[in-house]
């Protein structure tokens, strides 16, 4: 075990959270964000991927007043404070929805489907929401 793995007396694994659903139609996006925030306390190597309709979770200018639900999108901007900094977005998913990196409310790295596949291949734990 490396020094890094011995940190906090425990193992460090590669955790990847994959967000695939739009933010308000189902609860998955909100409850996925809760897992990421709690998980941050465990000092694992964390990546977060937004693909398919999941890219809508981090679109700027969300206004939920009309649907009576809490707009939780500002919380994505807090991820950096929890040292969750590896945010990846699917290039194809953005393009299919007429979106670009400028439409997003957090700094991300845009990856192709092939690059996301390679990223997933490296992970120890993949959680899809």
């Amino acid at each position: 075990m490396s020094d890094e793995e011995m940190m906090e007396g425990g193992v460090q694994k590669k955790f990847c959270y994959v967000n695939r659903t739009a933010p308000y139609g189902t609860v998955y996006a909100l409850e996925a964000l809760e897992v990421v925030l709690i998980g941050a306390a465990f000092e694992q190597d964390v990546s977060v991927v937004f693909m398919d309709d999941g890219v809508f979770q981090i679109v700027k200018g969300q206004d939920t007043a009309g649907i009576g639900m809490k707009n939780f999108s500002p919380t994505y901007r807090a991820l950096e404070m929890y040292d969750v900094e590896k945010l990846y977005v699917s290039k194809e998913s953005l393009e299919e929805r007429g979106l670009s990196e400028d439409d997003l409310l957090v700094d991300v790295e845009v990856k192709t489907a092939a690059e996301i596949r390679d990223l997933m291949e490296e992970q120890d734990v993949l959680l899809t929401f």
């Binding site: 409850e31 809760e34 897992v35 465990f42 694992q44 734990v125």
Partner: protein, 130 residues
């Protein structure tokens, strides 16, 4: 091999809990270890003892309770997801001013950290749901 199982969907509407149960049972019979079963999203609804399915159907909740009793399985229900959906043990009911609890035998309510820890401690974290 050591497994943690995550169940994301409620009973009867979705096959996730049935498939996870069959997986857990088969894994235990094959000599593997189940470190934890974690119930999240609507999966917390697998933990209510008030479920009353027709007599000629399986009882998804009782099956988990029985498997837990037989193999000392750790069945953990996410507290935040449970509060949203009305799943409570006696402590939770008292803390939130409710006049009843409904948690089934063998289940316990705890935090999301239990899921992350399951992922860290197990060889595989297997997710059942969409």
């Amino acid at each position: 091999m050591k497994f943690t199982i995550q169940i994301n969907e409620g009973p009867y509407t979705h096959q996730a809990s049935d498939t996870a149960y069959n997986f857990a049972k088969a894994a235990l019979e094959a000599g593997h270890e189940i470190y934890r079963v974690f119930f999240y999203h609507d999966g917390v609804n697998n933990a209510t003892r008030l479920t009353t399915p027709p007599q000629d159907d399986r009882n998804v909740i009782n099956r988990w309770s029985e498997l837990s009793a037989a193999h000392n399985l750790d069945l953990v229900v996410c507290v935040a997801a449970a509060q949203r959906r009305g799943i409570a043990d006696a402590d939770e009911a008292r803390r939130n001013g409710k006049n009843a609890d409904n948690i089934a035998p063998g289940f316990r309510i705890s935090g999301l950290g239990q899921l992350i820890e399951g992922g860290i401690q197990s060889d595989r974290l297997v997710v059942f749901g969409d």
